[in-house]
């Protein structure tokens, strides 16, 4: 079972502190491979915290660990991931003549990894 959602990349406090220690450190790798998801969406997809989930865009595919966020904080159908090597896999190189790739508005397919 897969669903279409909108992925938003962004900064987080843990990403900011761990990037100072280095991008190959365990903490940065963990932070930048954690996918935040509305808890109700997770329940519908049969997911719980730390479950692997496949995220597929028109450009690429990653597997991230999911982490639930309260429905009032993260709307249904919206995902958040801290910027990093995994989020860049999903970004398209087309900037529509602006120089800016869309990193906060990526259509993705979500699917639990069984």
């Amino acid at each position: 079972m897969s669903e279409t959602m909108i992925l938003i990349g962004g900064r987080s406090s843990a990403q900011g502190t761990s990037v100072c220690a280095g991008k190959f450190g365990t903490e940065y790798v963990n932070v930048s491979s954690t996918l935040e998801m509305n808890v109700e969406d997770m329940a519908r997809l049969g997911l719980k915290d730390n479950d692997p989930v496949r995220v597929r865009s028109a450009t690429g595919e990653i597997v991230a660990r999911c982490k639930g966020r309260a429905a009032k904080d993260l709307p249904s159908g919206v995902l958040f991931i801290a910027y990093g090597p995994l989020s860049s896999v999903l970004m398209d190189g087309d900037t529509a003549g602006s120089g800016m790739p869309l990193s906060k508005s990526i259509d993705v397919q979500i699917e639990p990894v069984r």
Partner: protein, 447 residues
Amino acid sequence: MANTHVIRDATCTFCGCVCDDMHLTVDDDTHKIVKAENACVLGRAWFKEHGIEQRPFALIEGREASTEQAIDAAARILADARFPIIYGLSDTTCEAQRQAVAIADIIGGSVDTTTSVCHGPSGIAFQDVGEATATLGEIRNRADLLIFWGGNPAESHPRLFTRYTVTAKGMYVPNGRKDRTVVLVDVRRTPSAAVADIFLQVKPRRDFEVLWALRALVKGRPVDPTIEQVTGVPLATLEDLAKRMKSCRFGVLLFGMGLTMTRGRHFNSGALLALASDLNEYTHFVAKPVRGHGNVTGADNVVSWQTGFPFGVNLSRGYPRFNPGEFTTVDVLSRGEADAALIIAADPASNFPQPAIEHLRRIPVIVLDPKSTHTSQLAKVAITTASYGISVGGTVYRMDDVPLTLRPALPSPYPSDESVLTGIKDRVRELIGGNRMPAMDRIGAAA
């Protein structure tokens, strides 16, 4: 007892706040900064993790080399390239940035900064709409209405709230938080919502519609109640916000990449800047982009004062041309156009789209960085440089275009970006014999 010394009023260059009230305690035995008084959580990590590491001075194709050897190898790559690009520059000094622009001029290449994947769309909007602006000092002392739009300063710029905006006490807002109304607009409820009196949760990709509706309401035009179905925000909420905006004494829109990195890009930034301008018919209102890296604003300034344009500049015709989408790095790489890249203090191999990263793997890449990164790992020439602000002095610009002088605390054996870039510039000039002849002149000479 450890030997320590204290550097007072040092500057943190982690983010665009560039807080210049750091009191740093340096352990002279371990060559580490062991205490950073006044720093936020990000600043503490920045100072703690940027001690002097044991790294090779340079790597050429993975083999250790001296800085001088690497400068020569880098210069040869750039001198041989036909469409090179210079990119990064937001985490280095203005003095280094001007050397990078000089290299681009000599080699007839493109120079672009991380602005193009940050507030580049806002830079485009500035040219279309203009910017009603203020310094953070004015905002601290005067603003009674703060609207944060598409950003999460609690996690990305923690002291923006405490030093310059939300809780700061100012000349005309002596009671600090009590004298200010704080609004947050975002598609998700972030930790920044905790400081807000009003939180507007907008549907993804609908910021432009909300901003345009606010423009209409500010001008007294009718807005259809179905705006709520489109944007997720009730009309009554927008009417209330428009009323607050018109009746405040000094209002501020501080906007983040939630506007620039989503559908609409520069149209979103332009709508927000136009809203701020509109409001000046009724009160004093300003808008500021919240900038990420410590000297990304300096990069905009330096590239602008040297070429006339802030980013995405090409010099292959012997004069500057600005065209986002054509000369910006993601585009030049994703289309497979660049035949060499000089990357300064940036890591595109970990945060660019895949087509761009794949092209970086195909071309000779030169990297200057204090740390090992995904980009340095694919580079043909990787040069270790000292961290700006910690080991290197110079000038940086705060996000409000105020220049500040760095006060480094920790001596480093590694050279500064400025000295390496100056070496590359001089060597490239020797190899080419002056500035490269512009492309059109070469064609004319051949005919």
